[in-house]
C-alpha cells in the first residue's frame, strides 16, 4: 500500500469521524430537550 493511499484512507476516516461527532452532539442536545420535556410534563 503506497503512502498516498494510506493518507487518503486516514483523511477519509478523519472526515467520517468528524461528521459522526457532530451528529452525536446534535443527538445529545435532542435527547436533553426531550428528557426535559418528559420531566416537566
Amino acid at each position: 500500500m503506497d503512502e498516498e493511499e494510506i493518507r487518503r484512507r486516514q483523511r477519509g476516516r478523519a472526515i467520517v469521524m468528524a461528521v459522526l461527532l457532530g451528529l452525536f452532539v446534535i443527538l445529545v442536545y435532542a435527547i436533553t430537550i426531550a428528557k426535559m420535556g418528559l420531566y416537566s410534563s
Binding site: I6, R9, I31, A34
Partner: protein, 301 residues
Amino acid sequence: MTGMTLSEAQVPIADWRDFLALTKPRVMTLVVFTGLCGLLVAPATLPPALAFTAILCIALGAGAAAALNMWYEADLDALMKRTASRPIPAGRMDRQAALHFGVGLSFFSVILMGVATNWFAAAILAVSILFYVLVYTIWLKRRTPQNIVIGGAAGAFPPLIGWAAVTGNVAALPLILFALIFLWTPPHFWALSLFVRSDYAAAGVPMLPVVAGARSTRIQILLYTLPMAAAAVAPWPLGLAGPVYGLAASALSLAFLVLALRVLANKAAEPSGMKPEKQLFAFSVLYLFAIFGALVLDRFL
C-alpha cells in the same frame, strides 16, 4: 516506528467502509425493523428523539456484536467463499482494530441506551450482545449443530429491547415476538446452510447439514416451522393483536409451511437442485418483515 515510512508499516490502514462492513449492515436491517416494531406496538410512546436513539442503539449494538463476531471468526471467514472478502480475511483490516471497534461500539450503544431511555432496556441490549458474542460465536458455533438453535436467541432480543425502551418492562407480546424470531432462526439458517453446505464443511463448522445430512435437516426445518407458525399466530387468539394481524400471520405462516413441505419433498444433494431451499430462505426474510409490519399496521388501524 522511528525511520519507518507509513507504507512500510505492517498493520493495514482500514478504510471507513471496512468498519461499516464489520457491522453487517444488511443483517442489521432486520434487527432494526423488528426493534422498531417492538417499540411501536408498546402501549405508550416515546418522544421522537428518544425513540430514534433507542433504535440507533439497537442498530449500534447489533453492529458491535457483528464486528466482534468477525474479529473472532476471521480464520473461519477466510476458509469460506461467502465470507473470504470480509475486511479481516481479505487483509484490509487488522484484527485488533476490529476488536477495539466492536468493544467500543458495544459500550457506547449500551450506555447511550441507558442514558436516553432506561437501564432495563440497556441491560437487555448488553445481554443480547454478550449472548451473540460469547454464547453463539465463541462457545456454540464451532462445537455443536445446535449452534443456531440456541444462538438464534441473540437475534430475537430486538423487539424485547424496543418494547422495554418505551415501557421499562417486558410483557406477553414482546415475549411471544422473541419466541417467534427464536423459532424462525433455525429454518431460516438451515435453508441457507443446505445450499452453502460445502462452504461450512470446508471451514469445519458443524452446521446441521454437515453433521446430520440434508434429509435430517429438511425434517428439522419442518419441525421448527410448526411451533414458529403457532408463535406467529398466537397474539391473535390471546387478544394481544387484532384480526388484521391474525389473518396476515395465518396466511404468511401457511405459505412458510408450504415452502417447508416443498423443502422436505426435495431430494437434491447439490445446490443447483435446491430451488425450494433458496425460495424458503428468501421468503423467510420477507416473512419476518411482513409479520412485524402487519403487527404495527394492526396496532394503528
